[in-house]
Amino acid sequence: MQRIFYLVQKEFRQIFRDRAMIGILFVMPLIQITLLGYAITTDVKNVDIVFADLDRTPMSRAFLQRFGHTPYFHPVGVEDDERALPSWLDHGRARLAVVVPTHFQRDIVLGRRPQLQVLVDGIDGNTAGVSLGYLTRIAQQYQSDIIAHDPSLGLRLRDIRLTETETRFLFNPMMESKAYVVPGIVALILLIITVFLTSMGIVREKEIGTLEQLTVTPIRASQLILGKVIPFSILGFVEITVAMGFIYLIFGIAVEGSVLLLFAESAVFVLTTLGVGIFISTISETQQQALFVGWFFMIFAILLSGFFIPIANMPDAVQYLTYLNPLRYFLVILREIYLKGTPLSLLLPETLAMMAFGIGVFGLAVLRYRNVLR
């Protein structure tokens, strides 16, 4: 027991001998949070939009004006002829083109429903879909405003009985992607620290030969592993605490649920990543190899976690594969606790899946470590 303490003490001495390390500890989460929080966004803003106003009436102009007053669109021009529109899209000067038909005003006044034609640049399917949604909202809003201002029109339209759906987004009312992305960064930081520092810490001792030196002391393999794993776990927890602080300061997003539960779940998650880190150290002879294998693992873990790409969008076979990814569960848990304050009782399936993986991977890695390094 005391030996483990000395190993941990030695590890911390080495970590803090490196002044740069302290900087990295605080700067890394700051950069990741700011960069990822702002850059990884599925919000659509300032979409270049061009119009063809074939009606040229007060109503059509008032309708077009509305696009100038939202942050979502950026009107770049108004044409008289709809045939001029495709060239705007072809040259990438606009991503959306709207044709206001002739008799737009007359049709509204008469209670007929004018049809808008919309041309969308579909290269970026996500932006196209989202901006089309915004456009529909603006048109609906315009329609209901007119009805409100003109009671006679409203009376005539009452017979049509429009069914309107009103969507309300809970937990993330502004539909901001940063609320979704940012808690995920906590997982990434934990992943990086534990996988990379653990594997490279062990492999580094292999490289300089001290691992063999430690092996011929009376330390047991299990003590040696604990001596490596404890300092990096502590570091990982310090790191996510710092990260949560930054998330609150920069984005104003605080943990909705129990912070204690969040840490406990993190501990379960870390069991897997430490296991992976130890495993990597048993198959790598140099730090470069460890780094390479670590990246290989991390890319897959992140891509198949639903962090960037929703799992539901993946092919079936790949979706099954994601069940083997502990990050998949941890991301769900993090977001639930962070944004909704979900209690443990509702997170049990994910927690148990993660725990099973953690114990399995960690156990296998330790067994392998003992066989390789005796």
């Binding site: 005391q2 001290t210 092996t215 011929v216 002391t217 330390i219």
Partner: protein, 250 residues
């Protein structure tokens, strides 16, 4: 007998590294494994200190089996591999203390041990310097000090002076001989004949086999004077043994 090696064989894949090696080391002896690269010196030492398993034969240290009793062997030996390793980012004293702590040297006794080790290594003035900033000779002395911190019964040193400057080499062997007078048994490997001459007994190894063993004087006496060398040196003995061995093999 402190070390007994009987019929020891070990191969890496199909390539034999050591075949049927026999030798014994008495308590308090300075014993040398002598031979060129690839002779099997390192394999023998690594097996003895429980880092490798033998394919055949038995190796014991003070009656402890190198396969079964790994932990008791590990606590009584000090092993310094060819490329000894310290933590370059820890100071001289931190390195020493760390190894002392791992070997459970009592806290009350640690200062006295450190002082004794500083006395012979003369590293006291550099106690706070990072190990990575020491010269080659000083690193070697620190490494030796680290393997001595727990007062081992047996020191196993694998080519401790390879790549060390002549002055430091000389100093290092002075330290070894002083240690022997204090009763530490030392098993050392070296490719240098002048160092072999300083051992109490040696075994000459070549391509995994023991060609001869005895005191350096016995080995020299066992070779008759030839026309080319009237008074053969250990080096002559070594070369003629190897030539003989190669002829047998063909």
């Amino acid at each position: 007998m402190l070390i007994e090696v009987r019929n020891f064989s070990r191969s890496y894949g199909t390539r034999p590294a050591v075949s049927d090696l026999d030798f014994t080391v008495r308590r308090g002896e300075l014993f040398g494994l002598i031979g060129p690269d690839g002779a099997g010196k390192t394999t023998t030492m690594r097996t003895l200190v429980t880092l490798l398993r033998p394919d055949a034969g038995t190796l014991t240290v003070a009656g402890n089996d190198a396969v079964r009793d790994t932990r008791s062997i590990r606590s009584m030996i000090g092993y310094m591999p060819q490329r000894f390793s310290l933590y370059p980012d820890l100071s001289v004293e931190q390195n020493l203390r760390f190894f002392g702590e791992l070997f459970s040297v009592p806290k009350t006794e640690l200062p006295a041990r450190l002082e004794r080790l500083y006395r012979f290594s003369r590293l006291q003035p550099f106690a706070r310097r990072l190990a990575g900033r020491l010269s080659g000779g000083m690193k070697q002395k620190l490494a030796l000090s680290c393997t001595l911190i727990h007062n081992p019964v047996l020191l196993v040193l694998d080519e401790p002076t390879t790549g060390v400057d002549p002055v430091s080499r000389h100093e290092f062997w002075d330290i070894l001989r002083e240690l022997r007078t204090q009763g530490v048994t030392i098993l050392v490997s070296t490719p240098y004949m002048d160092e072999a001459r300083l051992c109490d007994r040696i075994v000459i190894m070549h391509e995994g086999r023991a060609l001869a063993q005895g005191t350096p004087d016995e080995l020299i006496a066992s070779r008759p004077a030839t026309l080319t060398s009237l008074a053969p040196s250990l080096e002559d003995v070594f070369i003629s043994l190897i030539e003989e061995n190669t002829r047998h093999a063909n």
